[in-house]
Symmetry: C2
Subunit: 431 residues, 2 copies
């Protein structure tokens, strides 16, 4: 059996296949699992990348029937039952009898891919580090400028999309500017930074219901976030964004933009769609049967963000569908009957707004404030894959939430906006 | 007053200038201080980059007379007393009355700069992350290869130079392969990896004296490091290194090479040498007077790795000369007499070999084993700039030394040797 993707779905499926009768190969283009819900904390300097990226082979080291292959999948052959993957100069071909497609999703710019250059999304650890570099680099640049009018676009942070990721990002940016960077600068007050949260729809956290949505909006505005509802983005460039508002188009000058608006299933879905003629929805998700398999291919499961079923694109769906797929494959191996349909058990939604404030929607229950925050904290710690990371994260949270520190501000040079392109004089001096 | 460089020398000088009568501007091309002695631990996955790179402006936030400017220094005008620095598109010109040059050093390839591409040195946080990517990427690639003969060059790690950095790096690579990666791979045993430490001279840790040098050699060999003394490197390419040995030239096939052999003072020394006609030694260090000033320029201090005085290029020299320079500048401001000469107080040398084993040379004292290791641990914790980082580092050390974990294996994509250059098929599928 082959699993493509080491995210919540793929890793759960692999671990659930810990069974004598089968062997599993997990293929992913990164060597690590990624705890996506905390990417925004890596981007804003609270956590290190290692804390949310446990190495996949370390997680699976005691599962002797599991093998991990690093590689970007370049082809899936449904007839010959082969997956081709590539890593550096190495091409690897892996045969399978069952396949679990769990390659997740990337961000969607709704037909305007050119926005990506100026408003990066947050789906990989590299995305988070690039955004970290952009945020801290913007404050560094602001310190160099003498004219407040020139400085303001560097101190304006636009977050597009007011789902959980956008809300959490906006909340963290406010905390960063109002608390964490206190006394760090001499030519301006970091608390003067603007954080603008732009949402095309009429609500923040629309999936959390009207009560929590309203409370979240109130909380964000009290913290200082400028929330712009019913405001679609029409253009993004290096210097800012253009939005459509009630009164026409409006321009917001902002050097740093973060895209948290849309998701699109992995391009690998396109390979399967082409090969089988399976339709995809607008988000690129593949139509699957009720048991998550591809029509005509009962041996191919498509799970998590890649499948089109009436369930949301959240971590819990990936985890539960991963476990479901593994259960069916083992049932077949053991000659037991399989379940006719995947059933998603909604465990609720959680989002933090700032330290000590979160919202939680669990069945009929609606929580907000400190209680919801403690719940958020416990659940996230619980789902972190590795025990040591739980301790490290808890420790970093103590520093950031009880104190005001951000211990992880360093971003790779390649992502620093402030890196000079041509230190030519220095090269001369070196000779 | 302007300080160039936020390393041990520059940051110490800046902090020692916390005095009403002066204002200090610290200029550096990175926004952080760097605790260089632990770079090898970032490279081998024990520590996160944030733990050894406290943001300079965070360290100095309560020192109201200090200002931090991010920028690569492109010119120093000794007549007009101006420093020009550049960050992104911003050029900043900063006037000074006293100047402290503390730009440190970079690695030296002894006239063969083309080695740099294949054998990166370890002087910046980006270097360490690139080496991290290369090391873990090599193990990942080895897992993909079926032919043991093809695999071995990926499992061979060459460290050039057996000073403290080289010894520590070799020791960590052995720990990594023998303990940390245990059970992580299916097609080979990571303990079969070779670690080759190559030294042109006759001794490891030559500055520690014959007793400790001999003990270190014995320890390294017992751990499994192949130590090659009296073996100069004559060529480095993508696939390995060529060395000159007693019997002629010899080839070592190794995909991963780390350069820990030589240092060369910052190219900024060249700017000053050109402007003043001051001679530099072979390591690029500037001739200075006994009080660390440039001849004819009593207002310009050159400290740490950049100055040519009969002292070693170590952190303690940078720290002490930084403090000395600050003291002289304050004395002048207050109209008190200055000291005629910088005096280095040797506090001793420390190097770790593996967990629980280190060597220490302090005055007439020679320590090795666990006692030296505990000393190493205490001193390094003590010198870490920020208290929170001390706690984090201690915690990571617990994980790595008491356990076997390496929590920080993730490297930016740009540094991963395993990233495919052209995932062309995927782009097609995305359309």
């Amino acid at each position: 059996m082959v699993v493509i993707g080491s995210g919540f779905g793929g890793l759960t499926a692999t671990r659930a296949m810990d069974h004598d009768g089968v062997s599993v190969t997990l293929i992913d283009r990164t060597p690590h699992h990624l705890f996506q819900p905390l990417l925004y904390q890596v981007a804003t300097g609270i956590l290190s990348e290692g804390e949310i990226t446990p190495p996949t082979r370390e997680v699976l080291r005691r599962q002797q029937n599991a093998r991990v292959i690093l590689g970007e999948v370049t082809d899936v052959d449904l007839d010959a039952r082969l997956v081709t993957s590539r890593s550096g100069e190495q091409t690897t071909v892996t045969p399978w009898d069952s396949l679990v497609m769990a390659a997740g999703s990337t961000h969607s710019y709704f037909g305007s891919p050119q926005f990506a250059e100026y408003a990066p999304g947050m789906k990989s650890i590299d995305d988070a580090l690039a955004i970290r570099g952009a945020i801290y680099g913007a404050f560094e640049t602001a310190e160099l400028l003498e004219d407040p009018a020139e400085r303001m676009p560097w101190l304006t942070f636009v977050v597009v999309g007011a789902g959980p990721t956008g809300v959490e990002m906006a909340g963290q940016l406010i905390e960063l500017s109002r608390r964490s960077l206190h006394l760090n600068f001499r030519s301006f007050d970091p608390a003067s930074a603007r954080v603008v949260l732009i949402e095309a729809g009429p609500k923040v956290l629309s999936t959390f219901g009207p009560t929590l949505s309203r409370r979240t909006l109130g909380d964000l505005e009290r913290l200082g976030v400028e929330v712009r509802l019913n405001t679609p983005v029409v253009d993004v460039d290096e210097l800012g964004v253009t939005v459509r508002s009630a009164t026409g188009t409006e321009r917001i000058e902002a050097r740093t933009k973060v895209w948290a608006a849309g998701v699109r299933a992995s391009p690998l879905g396109g390979l399967l769609a082409e090969a089988t003629g399976t339709p995809r929805n607008r988000a690129g998700q593949l139509d699957v049967l009720a048991d998550c398999t591809l029509r005509g291919h009962p041996e191919v499961f498509v799970i998590g963000d890649m499948m089109h079923l009436p369930v949301p694109a959240v971590a819990q769906v990936a985890i539960q569908s991963g476990r479901f797929a593994a259960r069916q494959i083992i049932a077949k191996v053991e000659g037991r009957p399989t379940e006719p349909a995947f059933r998603y058990r909604d465990k609720g939604n959680l989002a933090t707004i700032s330290r000590f404030r979160a919202v939680a929607s669990i069945g009929p229950l609606r929580l907000s404030g400190t209680l919801a925050w403690l719940l958020w904290l416990s659940v996230h710690l619980l789902y972190l894959v590795c025990f040591k990371n739980r301790l490290l994260v808890l420790f970093h949270w103590g520093i950031s939430f009880l104190g005001r520190g951000r211990q992880e501000r360093t971003a790779p040079a390649a992502t620093r906006a402030t890196t000079p392109a041509q230190p030519a004089l220095l090269r001369k001096a070196a000779s």
